[in-house]
């Protein structure tokens, strides 16, 4: 059977090209790999190779022809002993509407509007587990709560292991992994060299291979060296594999500003990771949430970015003494109820927001404080319900203002809570500068209680 040689697409974007030159003539026999013609695309002149063997029967598009559409039959190849001299009667026609062709993509059509309709609904919300009456509460530091969460999960599931810099023999650069080596041994508590890109990749690969790694970054500032694996390898693989390849890894470590460590060691990455579909991002505040959410993160089938804060590691909070305290991912927590203004916050700024609420209360303003706890997926419902109650929202965030989690909350309130708003939603964040070293400048740069109080009063028109 004669083979039609069609104008090839030679780049992802090519739709037409110039048939610059024929390197064969009618009657020539060709074999696989022979160059038949030169074709000019918008980018380059490409050689058009024969894939099959045979004899050039008819050349239908002469050399020098411009704007030859991709898919146009340009010549006919006869296989052994075949006569194709009447091939010219077949009109050369460009192929149209090839399903799956690049140019179909992105055009608004029926399919995409259907897709919008079929968008999955959010899962039914899970409540925090009830704490039975009479449960004793233990005072635990955040550091201890995190360690206990890891230890409990390691006892429960032998696929769970911890790796990172100084996590084993040194007992953790911030002592979060203290005691784990002693209990679980060097097979499951692994000191890595200082090589974030490499060990983030190894952790991710181990998760793909069926283990449950907890990868500690000494701080998330260093994870920037590894971010390709967090995003391109961990977050996207389940989707790209059509759901075949899971990646149940937890990347954890301190995030945000510490104390006087300068700009390179002081950054909040929550907005970065929270923008990536395929990741779960958790940034808890107190000990109970750190414990319950880290346990949930380790059990999750999805990659989790677990953002801690060095400045609260040493703070102690009450944790219920329960055998298995696991909290739902994706659920915010109302830390303090109030009726006048909502302060949305997460991580270390929750503490500032609670202090601000006390000060506001003394001035007659009752603030509701929401700890988002999980940044992705974000619990919009809790925020919007609070907005409907107080009609005023501010967001307190220890991080930069531009493209921040606060910006996202502002957008949500505007898009989905507009009718309930009595005032613009305000962002109360760090200053938009790299964090300075000098004590006075650092203080000026960081979000604080006074700024939260001022913003709350402003939206209440009380200043």
């Amino acid at each position: 059977m004669a083979i039609e040689l069609k104008m090839p697409a030679l780049s992802p974007t090519m739709e037409e090209g110039t048939l610059a030159k024929w390197l064969v003539k009618e009657g020539d026999s060709v074999s696989s790999g022979d160059v038949l013609a030169e074709i000019e695309t918008d980018k380059a002149t490409m050689e058009f190779e024969s894939i099959d063997e045979g004899t050039i029967g008819k050349i239908l598009v002469p050399e020098g022809t411009e704007e030859v559409k991709v898919g146009t039959v340009i010549a006919v190849l006869a296989e052994d002993g075949e006569d194709v001299s009447d091939a010219a009667s077949t009109p050369p026609a460009p192929v149209k509407d090839v399903p799956g062709e690049g140019k179909d993509v992105g055009q608004p059509d029926e399919a995409s509007s259907q897709a919008a309709i079929m968008k999955p609904q959010p899962a039914p919300r899970l409540a925090d587990p009830a704490i039975p009456e009479g449960t004793t509460m233990a005072k635990l530091s955040v550091r201890e709560a995190l360690r206990d969460a890891m230890a409990e999960e390691m006892r429960r599931d032998d696929r769970v292991f911890v790796m990172g810099e100084e996590v084993a023999e040194y007992q953790g650069a911030y002592k979060v992994t203290q005691g784990l080596l002693e209990e679980f041994g060097p097979k499951r508590v692994i000191d890595t060299p200082i090589t974030e890109y490499g060990f983030a990749g190894i952790g991710t690969g181990a998760a793909m291979g069926g283990l449950r790694p907890i990868v500690e970054f000494m701080t998330f500032n260093f994870a920037m060296q590894a971010i390709d694996h967090l995003i391109n390898s961990a977050a996207k693989t389940n989707y790209m594999s059509g759901g075949q390849m899971r990646c149940p890894v937890v990347f954890r470590g301190p995030n945000g500003a510490a104390s006087r460590v300068g700009a390179q060691h002081s950054q909040n990455y929550a907005p970065w990771y929270a923008s990536v579909p395929g990741l779960t991002v958790i940034a808890p505040y107190d000990s109970a949430d750190c414990k319950g959410l880290l346990k949930a993160a380790i059990r999750s089938e999805d990659p989790v970015i677990f953002l801690e804060n060095e400045l609260v590691y040493g703070q102690s909070f009450e944790v219920p003494e329960l055998d298995d305290y696991v909290l739902p991912i994706g659920k915010a927590r109302i830390m303090r109820e109030g009726s006048d203004v909502t302060i949305v916050s997460y991580s270390i700024a929750v503490g500032l927001a609670l202090k601000a609420a006390d000060e506001l209360s003394a001035q007659g303003i009752e603030a509701e404080v929401i700890d988002l706890r999980t940044i992705r997926p974000l619990d919009k419902q809790t925020v919007l319900e609070s907005l409907a109650k107080t009609n005023r929202v501010i967001v307190a965030e220890e991080g930069w203002p531009v493209c921040s989690v606060a910006s996202e909350i502002v957008a949500i309130c505007m898009e989905e809570g507009f009718d309930h708003l009595d005032a613009p939603v305000l962002r109360v964040t760090n200053e938009d500068v790299p964090l300075p070293y000098a004590a006075n400048l650092e203080k000026l740069a960081l979000v604080d209680t006074a700024r939260i109080v001022a913003a709350a009063k402003k939206v209440c028109y009380a200043d």
Binding site: K6, M7, P8, A9, L10, S11, P12, S32, G33, T41, K43, M46, E47, I51, V70, G71, V95, V98, G100, E101, G102, A111, Q114, A115, M118, K119, P120, A123, P193, T195, Y197, G198, F199, G201, I202, T204, G205, A206, M208, G209, G210, L211, N232, N238, Y239, M240, S241, G242, G243, Q244, M245, R246, P277, T280, S300, E301, D302, P328, G330, T374
Partner: protein
């Protein structure tokens, strides 16, 4: 080395190795078996470079290599027709590497990971050409349900872990897979393939360090196809003998002709035995050549037509094996019958890939996360 002045395609004959002269040795005592440890595999390999395959194995290698060749040619054709979009990197010319190595693995026990030039490695692992081709055309029946494309394909069932689009990323991921084999004590090993281009990525060396330090069961395979996209190895690499690049990490290297499936298979025998015995990683350099451009839109102007023709005519791995088969008594008719059945298989895959429907619009939202939160 005289390498810089030689064309990229013809590696100079290796100089016989001399014992390195110790120049004013510092106080550090010499490590007793250093040379032996790092060169022992190469020495073993040099004693017997080609695998003694029986007729069935030879036919098997031939069929798989030919399947890859014809599949890739068809993929190129479908790309030209606009049925395959985006980036598409063909494996034509490199077939002996994946076939020689993976024929020595145990499917289901061992794991394989590679970069974006991944079609050949999947076919070498016996994954159905239909679902691979359907992925290339972005259809529902594709192995990633149309959501991955040419560069992002996986089969956990076969122990094939991708298909990774970022140059070099598969190397630490592969070490992670090897880590999991060791952790579970399941006896499996991992092959992590990467190119001469990826060999200059920093993460490769971070991985070499940890893999050697922790004795991970992994075989690093540099498929040196002579060009990192358009940059010849001698223009991008200070050390073009990639098999030596593990030396600083105490990883033994092997220098292999990647255009000869029997040589590759023999190297696999030596390397895999070493790794399976718990001796840590091995680095194999397979010297090979890609006939096509880096991707479909690469006019490959950085090399001469003659260079490509020379490789096709004198070093083609499929033609070489075909000649051996015929010499060994396989008839032209038998060869023709194989060619015909492969063509039918590939045409069948192409038809399947063209006729399978595109994914349902609702698939847009599936598989972002496993859990519901």
């Amino acid at each position: 080395m005289a390498k810089a002045s030689t064309p990229a395609t013809t590696k100079p004959k290796r100089m016989p190795r001399k014992t390195p002269a110790k120049v004013s040795a510092p106080a550090k005592p010499p490590v007793e078996d250093e040379n032996f440890a790092l060169r022992s595999l190469q020495e073993t390999f040099e004693k017997k470079r080609r695998y003694a395959a029986d007729k069935d194995q030879l036919l098997g290698f031939y069929e798989t290599m030919l399947l890859i060749r014809r599949f890739e040619e068809k993929a190129g054709q479908l790309y030209g027709l606009g049925l395959i979009g985006g980036f598409c990197h063909l494996y034509i010319g490199q077939e002996a590497v994946a076939v020689g190595l993976q024929s020595a693995l145990t499917e289901g026990k061992d794991s394989v990971i590679t970069g974006y030039r991944d079609h050949g490695h999947m076919l070498a692992y016996g994954i159905d050409p239909k679902v691979i081709m359907a992925e290339l055309t972005g259809r529902e029946a594709g192995i990633s349900r149309g959501k991955g494309g040419s560069m992002h394909m996986f089969s956990t069932e076969h122990g094939f872990y991708g298909g990774h689009g970022i140059v070099g990323a598969q190397v630490p991921l592969g070490a992670g897979l090897a880590f999991a084999h060791k952790y579970r004590e399941d006896g499996g090993i991992c092959i992590a393939y990467f190119g001469d281009g990826a060999a200059n990525q920093g993460q490769v060396y971070e991985t070499f360090n940890m893999a050697s330090l922790w004795g991970l069961p992994i075989v690093f395979v540099v498929e040196n196809n002579q060009y990192a996209m358009g940059t010849a190895v001698k223009r991008s690499s200070a050390e073009t003998e990639f098999y030596r690049r593990g030396t600083a990490f105490r990883i033994p290297g092997m220098d292999v002709n990647g255009m000869d499936v029997l040589e590759v298979r023999q190297a696999a025998e030596v390397a895999f035995a070493h790794v399976r015995e718990g001796n840590g990683p091995v680095l194999i350099e397979c010297n090979t050549y890609r006939y096509r451009g880096h991707s479909m839109s690469d006019p490959a102007k950085y090399r001469t037509r003659e260079e490509v023709q020379d490789m096709r005519e004198h070093h083609d791995p499929i033609e070489r094996l075909k000649a051996e088969l015929i010499k060994g008594g396989v008839t032209e008719d038998e060869i023709k019958a194989i060619d015909k059945s492969i063509r039918e298989k590939v045409n069948g895959a192409a038809e399947f890939a063209e006729s399978s429907p595109e994914p349902e619009p609702s698939e847009l939202y599936t598989d972002v996360l496993v859990g519901t939160y």
